[in-house]
């Protein structure tokens, strides 16, 4: 009859020891960790991991801690508390960029003035491959996918509300007029394509 006695005299329960191991694993991980991985690493069964996670969920919860334990995409991971989200956003903030490259400006101008356009269409006018530039503009949220040419066709890109905000436009209709280049979108586009063809390869 010594097992109850042992339970009483032991200050650290196995569950809280295991919880320490689990929090260590979680602080090292770059991905959410499934219960099975935690169990394999700690060499215990998943039921014990469940108990440890329960303890940790209690400890790492909003209000109580800046670190919050969360179950996401089938795994467990630490995140910053909602209360600390602003401070965290500041930590990851990058310095404001002053301007855009010529390639980005040309691509944006084409998409803004000539309407939703596919990569090959933009490439034809600019006379160079535009994949990298398009990807960059999508990443910055200045353009976004806006449908396809047809069911299996190329993706069309259009400017975003963020683009309008940054360029101080209430809408695309507020873009400065370019009547000298053509009477309407079709004419302007034809002219740009004609010029592009004359450009030396």
């Amino acid at each position: 009859m010594d097992s109850p006695l042992r339970l009483i005299t032991t200050e650290v329960t196995p569950a809280s020891e295991l919880a320490k191991t689990v929090e260590a694993l979680l602080v090292v991980a770059s991905q959410p960790l499934p219960v099975e991985d935690l169990a394999a690493a700690a060499e215990v069964d998943v039921l014990h991991i469940g108990e440890a996670l329960e303890l940790l969920s209690e400890r790492y919860s909003e209000e109580k801690s800046g670190i919050v334990l969360e179950l996401v995409a089938g795994g467990w991971a630490f995140r910053a508390s909602a209360a600390a989200s602003e401070a965290c956003a500041r930590l990851f903030e990058k310095p404001v960029e002053k301007g855009l490259s010529q390639a980005a400006l040309e691509t944006l101008a084409i998409v803004a003035y000539l309407g939703p356009m596919t990569r090959p269409e933009v490439a034809r006018i600019r006379g160079v491959n535009v994949d990298g530039v398009i990807a960059g503009l999508v990443e910055r949220g200045l353009i976004a996918e806006g449908g396809r040419e047809n069911e299996f066709g190329a993706i069309r890109y259009r400017t975003t509300p963020l683009f309008e905000r940054i360029f101080g436009l209430e809408s695309l209709a507020a873009l400065p007029r370019v009547d000298d280049l053509g009477a309407d979108v079709t004419e302007i586009r034809e002219r740009l394509e004609a010029v592009a063809e004359k450009r030396p390869a």
């Binding site: 260590a24 602080v27 090292v28 991980a29 770059s30 991905q31 959410p32 969360e70 996401v72 795994g75 991971a77 630490f78 995140r79 910053a80 989200s85 965290c88 956003a89 930590l91 990851f92 903030e93 990058k94 310095p95 404001v96 960029e97 002053k98 301007g99 855009l100 010529q102 400006l105 040309e106 944006l108 101008a109 084409i110 803004a112 003035y113 006018i125 600019r126 990443e139 910055r140 949220g141 200045l142 940054i166 360029f167 101080g168 436009l169 507020a174 873009l175 400065p176 370019v178 000298d180 280049l181 302007i188 002219r191 740009l192 010029v195 592009a196 004359k198 450009r199 030396p200």
Partner: protein, 254 residues
């Protein structure tokens, strides 16, 4: 009665080797013991201690030892600085010795530092930390300052500019007509009796200067001018034919 110190039998107890000196030598010569691992100063100290213990100086032993240890030193130096043999050879013996000592000391320090790093690595081998981004870290956004829509217009207009016609200027040198300079020099000489060629052609292209000089030669041929130069690279002086006499003075006074 003095027992000669058998240098070859000198017992060594070094960090990298334990045993008689001759065994060490043969191991080194067979490339079985890297010289760079050997601390030669340790060997020297062992030898001196050995002499010291005997309480008398055996010159023969010292001579033999000196030869062996300097051979080892040279071998070690060559092993350590293979590509710099030549560089060291150019130095005076004292300078070379100093340079060698400096480099050996530097290497010795590097080895000590490496040992410290090894211990440190051993201490910390059980410390794990996250080497990638956190699983649920906020995304970092690239922010852009407000932009003028006129930049878009500018970019679009730039795309509408017809490319220039291919240039052929590089295919032929275009010479200005000599007559242009004949007229110019005659007009100048009507106003002035003499001028410096260099001053008048300053700012012209090389081709234009050449044509301008051809025009001068043409005027000289027709006896309209005199050309004089005080020496190589001195200014070329042009004067009206009627002012030639005063110009000869310039030439003599140079």
């Amino acid at each position: 009665m003095v027992t000669p110190v058998a240098v070859r039998e000198l017992e060594l107890d070094l960090d990298a080797f334990e045993g008689p000196f001759d065994l060490l030598l043969s191991l080194v010569l067979r490339d079985e013991l890297p010289l760079r691992e050997l601390d030669l100063a340790e060997i020297i100290i062992s030898f001196i201690e050995h002499l010291h213990a005997k309480g008398e100086l055996d010159l023969d032993a010292c001579g033999e030892f000196l030869i062996l240890i300097s051979a080892l030193l040279e071998l070690k130096a060559r092993a350590m600085f293979p590509e710099e043999e030549a560089e060291l050879a150019e130095l005076e013996p004292e300078e070379a010795a100093e340079e060698l000592a400096r480099r050996l000391a530097e290497y010795r320090r590097a080895k000590e530092a490496a040992n410290w790093l090894r211990e440190r690595l051993e201490e910390r081998r059980d410390y794990f930390f996250r080497m990638g981004p956190a699983p649920l870290a906020p995304k970092s956004e690239r922010k852009l300052a407000p932009q003028s829509p006129l930049k878009l217009v500018e970019a679009l207009r730039g795309l509408a500019v017809e490319p220039p016609e291919p240039s052929t200027t590089h295919m032929a040198l275009r010479f200005p007509p000599t007559s242009q300079f004949l007229d110019r020099w005659r007009a100048l000489l009507r106003r002035r009796t003499r001028f410096d060629f260099d001053q008048e052609v300053a700012g012209l292209s090389r081709v234009e200067i050449a044509v301008a000089f051809l025009a001068l030669l043409e005027l000289r041929k027709q006896n309209e001018i005199a050309i004089a130069q005080a020496g190589p690279f001195a200014p070329i002086r042009i004067s009206r034919a009627d002012a030639e006499r005063s110009l000869s003075w310039t030439a003599h006074s140079a």
